[in-house]
Amino acid sequence: METRGFTGRRQPPETGARLPPGQYLTEDFPILQIGPNPSVDLATWQFTLRDGSRPIKTWSWEAMRALPRTTWHGDIHCVTKWSKFDTDWEGVSFDDLLADAGISAPTDFLLAESHDDYSTNIPVADLVGGQAMIATHYAGEPIHADHGGPARLFVPHLYFWKSAKWLKGLRFTKTDTAGYWELRGYHMYGDPWREQRYIGD
């Protein structure tokens, strides 16, 4: 169905090739979340890896900062249709986290859980092999609370709602279990290149 008088604003080819379908390029870093920033104190900050309800390992901020560091450069894509190019992130890769816990993933899925009671589901296959990290730095600086600091999940090949802000832990689940937005109509997987914004996309 055609809309009369609409021609659209095409991106330059070099931009368009980097934009997943339906996305537009922004120079800003928009902020989207369900409520106020939770207050997170580094002195008492804890990060817990769980298998269901069973804790596997807990890290303090100092212990997390002592783990090997990973950097990533590239583009991020938000389900609200903005994309941002050439962003730089640093943190602890999911692989290094599991290695420090001395385990391999006990199930194929997990829920990322946040201090504001937000949660989101990601398959383990999308986190391993350098695809994801617990990010603590953006553009060379500690991540601001507005963008999920002190630590957020970072899974750049999926829509950015999967990169949960104010992360407090990861919980392995036996099945692919919907998180906060997934229960409210968002796609279970969220691949920007297949434009999986909502259930049924």
Partner: protein
């Protein structure tokens, strides 16, 4: 499975599936120099909870498409249409079309309504504290329209920050509600005219004093409005768990 798990699952909303539907422009009207009221007749009209948004998609002759999200301003009625208040942005691919081109009879596509956490209905109760910056007032306007329709006894306040009265959306309606509706108060701040004041602790306290301790709080606007507003509310003792925010821009 233990009982706690069962209770959680019982409260879990069912997944929602969104489809695209054709929508016809049935009215277009300028409400400020930068904002147009657009009424769309579509099958999803009447399904929205106050505060939710819809996606609007436009298609060019060669099949190129662009879509954006807009808050619904209207509440369910018998018109089979819903109202958007679209702020035209100079670089806006979709909003620019609404501002400069859209006419009655034009066809677009819509899906939704979307966004259950930033929504309110009479059964959710109050007191209801709303704070909006600029065009962020639109979902809050829908909540006030719904309140008037189904729960006029619930105390409510709107803190509304705009650059000038001329740029304020639905100011006439809001001032009329403030005058005519017992239990609703408008707290308007103009940042670039008059005393040029922004939202501050005194204004937040005045709103809280007027309605009593809120049980539902919704903040919407650009981040430069929402972040300080959220901080002021928390500093005034509003529990973080009852505050819902929706932000746009930087």
């Amino acid at each position: 499975m233990n009982s706690a798990t069962s209770a959680t699952e019982a409260a879990t909303p069912q997944p929602v599936v969104f489809h695209w539907y054709e929508a016809e422009v049935v009215a277009v009207e300028a409400v400020t120099a930068f904002v147009k009221s657009v009424r769309l007749r579509c099958p999803i009209a009447g399904r929205q909870r106050a505060g939710q948004h819809i996606d609007v998609r436009l298609t060019a002759p060669d099949g190129y498409r662009a879509s954006r999200s807009y808050s619904v301003a209207s509440v369910p009625d018998d018109s089979e249409s819903l109202e958007l208040l679209v702020q035209g942005l100079p670089e806006g691919e979709v909003s620019g079309w609404f501002l400069e081109t859209a006419e009655v009879g034009d066809l677009v596509e819509v899906r939704g309504p979307i966004g259950g956490s930033f929504s309110w209905d009479g059964a959710d109760g109050g007191p209801l504290l709303l704070a909006g910056g600029g065009s962020g007032v639109v979902p809050l306007l829908a909540m006030l329209r719904r309140r008037a329709q189904v729960a006029p006894d619930i105390p409510a306040a709107l803190i509304y920050s705009v650059r000038s009265r001329a740029e304020a959306i639905a100011l006439g309606e809001l001032e009329a509600r403030d005058r005519d509706e017992p239990g609703f108060s408008l707290f308007l701040r103009t940042t670039r005219e008059g005393e040029g004041r922004r939202i501050d602790a005194g204004l937040v306290q005045a709103a809280l004093d007027r309605i009593g301790a809120p049980t539902k709080v919704f903040l919407c606007g650009a981040n430069r409005f929402v972040s300080p507003a959220a901080d002021l509310l928390l500093a005034a003792g509003v529990p973080a768990g009852i505050v819902r925010t929706e932000r746009f821009g930087a």
